[in-house]
């Protein structure tokens, strides 16, 4: 017994020595400096550049943010950085020949603990006017009801867009996680792709489903009136007027809405009788594929059995990263060129949604939404999901929406 007590005391002493060693000679925190050089090498030379860019150093752990404007050479220095892990974003815009070009670039999870770091951030340009994901309702509503999930795709530009063949899907990993996904792709360049777990595609010949500027289409999990007594009166949405639904064939649990156009399930496993996207926040992208999607070819991460369809980043029209809550913003799945931030409702089954913030309302009443490829800045949280918020128009070919 005496032997064990002696051993126990020795062990505790050793443990405490190690613990004490960890906290010796720890420096006192002080402000440090850093600088950023903005380049736009990937943007065609005939596209105009903004005169200056806004650079933000964001430390999510400390809820600390420093914003500065670059000089004419695209350079900026800051001297009041608190050591930490930073996301550095660069944004800028310029109007040219009737269009607005948005520039954005970022680096994420950058360790800045000493002075003198210089970061070069290459920005990409996107012309306002593309289709955007305007609202995502993924939480579900009270009573663990999730069949009322929907996604609204909006024409934020000046020209008519066609959603024929448009794909929507969620990326892997399914939720923001610390788990490692090292993708193995044939060309050995995993950074050039995003990795879908599930893909749905709208039918159409190419001009069947036009969406005019200011109009939107609703992709419902199930195009029903979810506020009905036989569904969930606590649901915030009636989706019976949705243009599309992700209806699962060969099942009888959920009825098909004969009005809504059924999306085609192109890739991935959908369990159960509906496409339940995680209520904890998935990463969504929309894209137009450059050919048919082969469900039998896929890539996998090292050491895991997940199957994914890798889609080149260049094909992605829009992407939004959703996470469980603020603590998970740094566990991004989506490349920062698509979404430098993340958004969340902070709960589940609470009827809340996220939607883009209004940038401006034109004289004809049409609303232009923010699309800086940073959902932290671009999105807001709504207490209740709403179909076609802010008066978005219904496409003329939708004759069933009330």
């Amino acid at each position: 017994m005496k032997k064990y007590i002696t051993l126990f005391i020795l062990l505790l002493t050793l443990v405490s020595c190690e613990q004490f060693k960890e906290v010796t000679d720890v420096p006192v925190v002080a402000n440090i400096s850093a600088s950023v050089s903005v380049t736009s090498n990937a943007v065609a030379s005939d596209v105009p550049r903004p005169d200056t860019y806004t650079v933000k150093f964001i430390n999510y752990d400390d809820n600390y943010e420093v914003a500065k404007t670059t000089d004419a050479n695209g350079k900026v220095s800051v001297a009041d950085i608190i050591p930490g892990i930073y996301t550095v974003t660069v944004t800028g815009d310029i109007a040219y020949k009737g269009f607005t070009y948005y520039y954005s670039g970022s680096i994420v999870n950058e360790k800045i603990t000493t002075s003198g770091n210089n970061f070069t951030i290459d920005v990409n340009a996107s012309k306002a006017g593309d289709l955007i994901i305007k609202e995502i309702y993924y939480n579900g509503s009270t009573g663990y009801y999730f069949k009322d999930q929907f996604y609204e795709i909006y024409n934020n530009g000046e020209e008519v867009q066609y959603v024929d063949g448009l794909c929507i899907g969620t990326l892997l990993p399914l939720t923001a996680t610390t788990a490692t996904y090292n993708w193995e792709v044939p060309d050995g360049m995993p950074e050039n792709y995003v990795y879908f777990g599930v893909i749905w595609q709208a039918p159409g010949s190419g001009t069947d489903y036009p969406v005019l500027p200011g109009e939107s289409v609703i992709i419902a999990q199930l195009a029903h009136n979810h506020t009905a007594a036989d569904k969930n009166p606590l649901s915030p949405v009636d989706l019976s007027g949705a243009e599309f639904e992700t209806f699962i064939k060969n099942q009888t649990v959920n009825a098909d809405n004969p009005n809504a156009i059924n999306m085609e399930h192109r890739f991935g496993t959908v369990y159960g009788t509906q496409w339940l996207a995680t209520v904890f926040g998935a990463a969504y992208c929309i894209f137009f594929p450059d050919g048919e999607i082969d469900p039998n070819t896929y890539v996998q991460p090292t050491g895991k059995t997940d199957k994914s369809k890798n889609i080149p980043i260049d094909l992605i029209v829009d992407g939004v990263e959703l996470v469980n809550n603020a603590t998970k913003i740094t566990y991004k799945r989506m490349p920062t060129t698509l979404d430098a931030g993340a958004t969340f409702t902070g709960g589940t089954y609470n009827g809340k949604s996220v939607s883009r913030r209004i940038k401006e309302t034109l004289s004809d009443g049409r609303v232009i939404y923010w699309d800086t490829n940073n959902s932290t800045d671009d999105f807001q949280v709504n207490d209740a999901a709403m179909v076609r918020r802010n008066g978005a128009g219904i496409p003329s070919w939708n004759t069933w929406a009330k």
Binding site: L12, F20, G347
Partner: protein, 542 residues
């Protein structure tokens, strides 16, 4: 835990039996006044050196007490409850073991704390532990604790040297009862071996060393899994990062690992009067982690503490005791910059850098003077004077925030022992006043309008810098039931009242009941805040 309870119960029974058996040699009743003066005279007993207990021994005694206490009132820190009830059972005794001396104590507490805020996980929130989870929901806690202490001293060997040891063990469990809630447990153990060396008849020097280890583990959860709860991962002085309890990726298990080493030296002079001086030093580190299976450092505190005290007692028909005590402690709050190593099959948090981000400094000094009119039953009366000075000075370095509170408190107290036949009625009163010299809270962080700043720290600073008056009365009635045992009933009531503006905020909502917020009342006469502490207990001395 059941096994632990069994051992504890066996320990209590064994301790009581031991003391009881040894107490057969004692033929007189132990009165409360004799216990008090006895412990006041045992100057070595009041140090960390157990070996010295043989020089100024505590007389033999045994106590078994069941008590109930209640406190309530708005004069409190936000993490304290609006009210608190506690049921306690304790036993304590000192006796000879051959020529050695032994003293032991066991206490069980079962408490309910109502109306607490901003503490989601910690069993014992303290100012110098800034790393924990907080939430704004008013809640209540249920807690239990088992505390055991032991001191033993050998006889003075060869008339020169004596050895001793003091040991403590405690285990605590508790749970917050409103979402976000938690279940927590904590254990702690300490050992303080000591030695004394006698130099001649009158002089004694002593040396003691302390090792302490504790561990606390707490699991934040929600009962209602449909509603995740917002929470704050606290970093000090109102700085925090946001967190969520519940859902996938919500906050996980927090655990605290503490180690402390310390030492003390003593010098005693024993003649017609006793003087004992002690100087002590300790060094403590507490590491805070989240998620045992993939530990992430949430912070560490490093605390150094140094202090000293002098006790002087002048024996006679009128026995007087002077105690001067003082200490200084500094706690550094260390935050870690960590990165997840996502290497396949490695996946661990790696520390990239660490910095001292905050300081928590506390200085305290006190002077006590007690005069006893000695009698056969301990004392006939006693009168006392107490003065304390405290200075708290905390700083979060970047972005800079400070919290300071400097107070002096003075108190007069006295007790009269009324003997009615063999029964003793000990009646005491005390009155004191706290004067705030200086203090304030200055926050320049990222969330100046946050709930944490407005509802926790700004309210706490009002409490910490308030002037207040404290008055109390206590009575102990002791009735001998045999030659060596007595039944006693004891009551104590303390009243604290502050006329300062500690509650000059009022809850407001919009007309539809939404947007609850606090607003300052500037023109209305302030209602004084107060707190009442009441304790009743019954017990046996034997």
């Amino acid at each position: 835990m059941n096994k632990m309870k069994k051992y504890i119960i066996i320990s209590i029974v064994a301790l009581s039996s031991l003391f009881s058996a040894q107490a057969q040699v004692s033929k007189s009743v132990t009165y409360p006044a004799s216990l008090e003066i006895n412990q006041a005279k045992s100057v070595w007993f009041n140090t960390t050196n157990a070996a010295g207990m043989i020089i100024t021994p505590v007389d033999n005694f045994n106590l078994l007490t069941v008590g109930y206490s209640n406190e309530n009132g708005e004069y409190k820190l936000q993490q304290d409850g609006d009210s608190k009830n506690n049921l306690s059972i304790s036993t304590e005794g000192a006796t000879n073991l051959g020529e050695a001396r032994i003293w032991g104590k066991f206490q069980y507490n079962n408490s309910t704390i109502n109306g607490t805020k901003f503490n989601t996980i910690m069993l014992d929130p303290v100012a110098d532990m800034p790393y924990y989870i907080a939430d704004p929901n008013k809640s209540y806690w249920k807690k239990q604790s088992y505390d055991m202490e032991l001191k033993a001293a050998t006889p003075v060997l060869w008339d020169v040297v004596g050895f001793g040891i003091a040991a403590k063990y405690y285990t605590k469990t508790g749970a917050k009862q409103i979402d976000p809630r938690c279940s927590s447990f904590k254990y702690g153990i300490s050992a303080t071996p000591s030695v004394i060396v006698k130099i001649g008849e009158n002089h004694t020097i002593g040396l003691s060393a302390t090792y302490e280890n504790s561990f606390e583990r707490t699991t934040p959860i929600n009962s209602d899994s449909q509603h995740d709860q917002d929470a704050y991962v606290m970093k000090g002085l109102g700085n925090y990062s946001v967190g969520v309890v519940g859902g996938l990726g919500g906050l996980s298990i927090f655990y605290y690992k503490q180690n402390l080493v310390g030492g003390a030296i003593q010098y005693g002079y024993h003649s017609d009067f006793d003087v004992l001086a002690e100087g002590n030093y300790s060094y403590q580190v507490i590491d805070v982690f989240q998620t045992p299976s993939k530990p992430k450092r949430m912070g560490s505190t490093v605390q150094t503490k140094m202090g000293g005290n002098i006790q002087a007692i002048f024996n006679g028909d009128y026995t007087s005791k002077v105690t001067v005590d003082g200490y200084y402690k500094n706690t550094n709050g260390i935050e870690f910059i960590q990165e997840l190593d996502k290497t396949y099959e490695v996946q661990q948090w790696v520390t990239m850098a660490k910095f001292i981000r905050s300081y928590y400094k506390f200085t305290a000094a006190s002077l006590n003077y007690d005069l006893f009119k000695v009698s056969e039953q301990g004392y006939d009366w006693r009168a006392g004077l107490k003065a304390t000075y405290s200075d708290r000075s905390d700083e979060y370095i970047l972005p800079k925030s400070t919290l300071a509170a400097k107070n002096v408190y003075a108190e007069l107290n006295g007790k009269k022992n009324f003997m009615v036949g063999n029964s003793s009625v000990l009646l005491g009163v005390n009155v004191g006043y706290n004067y705030n010299i200086d203090g304030g809270y200055d926050y320049t962080g990222a969330n100046p309008t946050s709930t944490v700043v407005k509802e926790m720290f700004e309210r706490d600073i009002a409490f910490l810098t308030a002037n207040y008056i404290q008055a109390g009365i206590n009575v102990n009635a002791s009735f001998p039931v045999s030659k060596s045992s007595a039944l006693y009933v004891q009551g104590d009531c303390q009243y604290i009242r502050s006329n300062d503006h500690t509650n000059n905020l009022v809850g407001m909502t919009d007309a539809d009941g939404s947007n609850f917020r606090w607003e300052t009342i500037s023109s209305i006469l302030q209602t004084p805040s107060q707190r009442i502490f009441a304790t009743v207990s019954v017990g046996f001395t034997f």
